[in-house]
Amino acid sequence: MELLIFYPLAGLCVLFALGVVVSNSPINSAISLIGMMLGLAGIFVLQQAHFIAILQIIIYAGAIMVLFMFVIMLLNLKGKGEDEKWQSRDKNILLNVLGGLLATGVLYKIIDIINAGDFNSPAMPPESFGTVREVGTILFTEFVLPFEVASILLLVAMIGAVVLAKSKVD
């Protein structure tokens, strides 16, 4: 039953992810990315992590991607005509090589984790797993320091962006 939902969702995710990389126009890439995030939210739901799934939709699919689309439309990135491919990817060979190495490393690590885990008898999560209360309690007791550090990091980035933008306006 779970596999029946997992495989279509995972397949959709992979299809949309491919769409992000191969499509010619930035707007199609952005829409594919939204589809991929929605699929990912579905997989989270399948893992009983409803709260994380909803946050995935609100923050990534709902807020960040709207801003992406906004910027793409504002700058009117149309992908330089119909026949030309969207440029600016294949410029730096060094970057390509480094990116390839990084991807290989990540994949290797993932395979390592999969081999280490015991997937035939997964432990059942407790009843309260993934509820808002549970996530909130853990976030504000055990992980309060990383949580606050991350929020300060975001604040710094935000102030930095405002300062940079303002100095250009003035």
């Binding site: 707007i27 409803h50 909803i54 939709i57 709902g62 709207v66 689309m69 906004f70």
Partner: protein
């Protein structure tokens, strides 16, 4: 198992039938009549079947037939796929929100537990919020796919307006969450049995800000800068005709129902009647037997809930035909400089009061 599945199916069919089949078409007529009454006109009254006009109610059917039979036009240079996709993205979230909206309490009928909500999610309120944020794409992509500058301008305004007011909406909801200590819409509704514990008395400021933010999210006057007819022709749906155009309208009307339902649950006692608890009604209905009394109570609660929803739909229509359209910069100023600080202050005050009470 099969019984549960049947009950869920019945609830889904009830909600879809009510929103798409009843509210969406009837509200087009109600809106015309409401505007006519407020402007001292007669309003839609000509469409008739065999001489019967039913106060013009058949205009809803006539509109539907017109939309189904009109030419579906896609402008030159438009992205045909996205042009078709965007009305669908706009209308689905509007209906999907009802998956977590309870339209009644919980009842014991003939040994079966009936919970009048399709899916009682632990994160119900956030689900509403998440789905609302998905709806933005329908409008944004519509303008982009039309290959028309008016449409694109409308989409840009939609995107910025919806992002701005989502912030306020989220922050006002936090006040309600703090008061009731739950994100389940069913629990928030059940907590308001006592008249004085209604959200409106707990969060008066929150109610007004939530209503303003949700009308802005729905892009209706006074917040309809995205479709501002006098500046942008019709904004993001300038290039839409026929059923696709109709779907944008359907989304707007269903969203009105959604707003009415959410406001009722969060702030106006959900399915409860003021000063009349469920236990009192049950004791009056004692002669019907336990099951019969529960059934009647359920029907009463559903009726009360939808009466409140209809009141808030009427309220939104009255606002729409009373106020003029705000200027675009005024909308942004209201959102970021007035509502956002106010909603933050609301959270602070709510927190302090809760701390003082405990």
């Amino acid at each position: 198992m099969i019984l549960e599945l049947t009950i869920t199916l019945v609830k889904i069919l009830f909600i879809i039938g009510l929103t798409v089949g009843f509210f969406a078409p009837v509200l087009t007529w109600v809106e015309r009549k409401q505007s006519a009454i407020m402007q001292d006109r007669v309003g839609a009254n000509r469409a008739d079947i065999m001489g019967f006009t039913a106060l013009g109610l058949f205009h809803a059917i006539a509109d539907a037939i017109k939309m189904f039979t009109k030419e579906d036009f896609v402008p030159q240079g438009a992205n045909r796929f996205l042009h078709t996709l965007s009305p669908i993205i706009a209308v689905i979230p509007a209906i999907l929100t009802f998956a977590v909206v309870p339209f009644g309490g919980q009842y014991e009928l003939w040994g079966t537990h009936v919970n009048l909500v399709i899916s009682d999610l632990d994160v119900g309120l956030l689900f509403v919020f998440a789905i609302a944020s998905i709806a933005t794409y329908g409008y944004v992509i519509a303008g982009w796919a039309s290959n028309n500058n008016w449409s694109l301008l409308g989409s840009m305004r939609t995107a910025s307006q919806m992002i701005s007011y989502e912030v306020t909406m989220g922050l006002t909801i936090i006040g309600v969450l703090m008061v009731y200590g739950s994100m389940k819409l069913t629990e928030i509704g059940a907590a308001q049995e006592d008249f004085l514990s209604w959200g409106f008395f707990m969060q008066p400021l929150g109610f007004f800000m939530f209503l303003a933010a949700s009308i802005a999210e729905n892009k209706r006057i006074p917040f309809d800068a995205p479709e501002a007819e006098s500046e942008l022709v019709a904004g993001y749906f300038t290039e839409y005709s026929g059923l696709k155009f109709g779907m944008f309208f359907m989304a707007e009307f269903i969203e009105m129902v959604t707003i009415g339902a959410i406001v009722t649950i969060l702030f106006f006692g959900a399915w409860h009647i003021p000063f009349l608890s469920a236990a009192t009604i049950l004791s009056w209905l004692d002669f019907l037997g336990a099951n019969g009394a529960n059934l009647v109570l359920m029907l009463i609660h559903i009726a009360v809930f939808f009466a409140k929803v209809i009141f808030f739909i009427w309220f939104q229509m009255t606002i729409r035909w009373t106020l003029p359209r705000f200027r675009y910069d005024q909308i942004m100023k209201l959102g970021w400089k007035i509502l956002l600080p106010l909603s933050l202050a609301n959270i602070l005050v709510t927190g302090l009061v809760i701390l003082a009470v405990h």
